[in-house]
């Protein structure tokens, strides 16, 4: 497996695995057919809009687990507006890169964050500037 040490570290010792009861926002992206599903839970402070906690569950390959783990690390402690700026590129860089065939995993991580933020925005009837409705959803399965 051509994974960096950081990827292997996050795969072996994934940070923030689990779920948050009554989360402020939950996003599930990916599709079992392609072999990757990520679910990200956000606990957001209502006043400061800071992501106090972030957890994930992922069905997928080594890269999928590692990108989920890194994404939760990057989002934690940030405001929802800063969280929106956590791109797949940022996740990849933080992991010292991914093999080319695994780049889609980092896109999935970015989308999972967006999906969780979208859920939060919908629940609270707010608009987060720059946030678009997430594309992928497991209900897309045929």
């Amino acid at each position: 497996m051509n994974y960096s040490e950081k990827v292997m570290d996050h795969f072996n010792n994934p940070r923030n695995v689990g779920e948050i009861e009554n989360a402020s926002g939950v996003g599930t992206v990916g599709n079992a057919k392609c072999g990757d599903i990520m679910r990200i839970y956000l606990d957001i402070d209502e006043d400061t809009k800071i992501v106090k906690d972030c957890k994930f569950k992922t069905f997928g390959c080594g890269a999928a687990v590692a990108t989920s783990s890194m994404a939760t690390e990057l989002v934690k402690g940030k405001t929802i507006y800063e969280a929106l700026e956590v791109t797949n590129k940022a996740v990849m860089e933080a992991l010292d890169g991914l093999p080319p065939v695994k780049v889609h995993c980092s896109l999935l991580a970015e989308e999972a964050i967006h999906a969780a933020l979208w859920d939060y925005a919908e629940k609270n009837h707010i608009t987060i500037e720059g946030l678009k409705k997430p594309k992928t959803d497991i209900s897309d399965e045929d």
């Binding site: 795969f11 779920e19 079992a32 072999g35 990520m38 890269a63 999928a64």
Partner: protein, 395 residues
């Protein structure tokens, strides 16, 4: 890391020390080109012809029916392209199955681009092709039936003798890709109605880069590799004498104690299958339980993905493989697992463990213990498992 436990013998095998020793003189001392005239080349030529005889005998064939090739893929390519070309006056229809190796399937796709029509037979949930289905697919323009002897992923052994019988009743040539079966289970080309058979040296403790094609004397096809007049002008290229000698030595060793090896591997296999089935919930044994290669174990574990499983097994010194998309380099999981009717998400969680006689019961127990832990760990991270458990609670 603990010691290496190699369970990927369907990918390749170790070269037996006896095999390596048998090959050495043909690199260091008798390095001649067996096609040369001088007497120095005589020994290499004799070793090569002895090797041909060993392989022919192991199949119940004549020595003149064994052609040395570069391996299983070349043999498969040669059969399909050679028969397609030589028999095109009769027709352009070939019958194969959906679970063949890519050396067959991709060559068939190539032939389709050149105007041939291929019927890809369905298999049942255990991966079996039935002789009845083969018979139904035969047309007046059918020139070849190619069905693998045993499947490389799920280990299912096909009813080769019966399929061969059907082929012959209809006057159609029958080829079998026996890369996973040759030197593992008994094969007799006469009794099993086989006209052509592909095999590869490194799948039975021989060297890599050498294989052969058994081709009945009644089959008349041209070469795939053009050039010199080696192999009765049907396969050009200087003979890989050390490879040929090594492959024959490995074949001889395998056949000399085949019953013993089958008994040992079957015991290991069934112990491992038994433990995995009993101790890991929501799993499925892939492939036929009885008509199965003695060294093949293949499971799907629901709610987890194969590559993650492989990495964690690797960290415990266990070499295995999977049919998940992430290991195939595409977005689709193994075509074999899809052909036996598994949904994509289940096929992604497959694990193939292929043993050899070198493995031990202790290793099987270690693998079962590790697999159990790893599957539990991955499920604890899996949103699919979460959803499943919540669903169960509701009901």
């Amino acid at each position: 890391m603990s010691k290496l436990i190699y369970l990927d013998n369907a990918a390749t095998t170790s070269v037996r020390p006896e095999v390596f020793e048998a090959m050495k003189p043909y690199y260091l001392e008798n390095y001649s080109n067996p096609s040369s005239v001088y007497s120095f080349a005589g020994e290499a030529k004799k070793a090569m012809e002895d090797a041909r005889k060993v392989i022919a005998d192991s199949l119940g064939a004549a020595a003149t029916e064994i052609y040395f090739t570069g391996g299983g893929s070349e043999s498969d390519n040669w059969v399909l392209k050679g028969v397609a070309e030589a028999y095109r006056a009769k027709g352009k229809h070939i019958i194969t199955s959906k679970i063949e190796h890519h050396a067959i399937l991709h060559t068939c796709e190539y032939l389709e681009k050149h105007g041939y029509e291929i019927t890809y037979l369905d298999v049942d949930e255990n991966g079996l092709v039935t002789p009845e289905e083969v018979e139904k697919a035969i047309r007046p323009d059918t020139i070849l039936i190619s069905i693998m002897f045993a499947n490389n992923e799920i280990g299912t052994i096909e009813p080769i003798a019966e399929i061969g019988k059907v082929a012959h009743e209809h006057g159609v040539l029958f080829h079998t890709d026996a890369v996973q079966a040759y030197a593992h289970v008994p094969i007799n080309v006469q009794e099993m109605n086989i006209d052509m058979l592909s095999a590869s040296g490194h799948k039975f403790h021989g060297p890599k880069g050498i294989g052969f094609l058994y081709m009945s004397n009644k089959v008349k096809i041209g070469p795939l590799i053009h050039g010199g007049s080696q192999e009765r002008s049907r396969r050009a290229g200087t003979h890989n004498v050390p490879g040929i000698v090594g492959m024959a030595k490995a074949a001889w060793l395998a056949h000399a104690k085949m019953d013993e090896t089958i008994a040992k591997e079957t015991a290991l296999r069934d112990h491992l299958i038994g433990r995995l089935e009993k101790e890991i919930p929501y799993c499925r044994l892939n492939g036929d339980r009885v008509k199965r290669l003695p060294n093949n174990v293949n499971f799907c574990f629901r709610f987890i993905e194969g590559e993650s499983l492989l990495i964690l097994l690797d960290q415990n010194g266990i070499c295995a493989s999977s049919g998940s998309a992430c290991t195939s380099g595409s977005l689709d999981p193994s075509h074999v697992l899809l052909a036996i009717g598994l949904p994509h998400e289940i096929a992604h969680g497959s694990l193939r463990l292929t043993l050899s006689e070198d493995n031990t019961m202790e290793e099987m127990d270690f693998v079962a213990d590790q697999a159990k832990k790893i599957v539990e760990r991955l499920r604890s991270m899996s949103p699919l498992y979460d959803d499943f458990v919540k669903q169960q609670k509701k009901q």
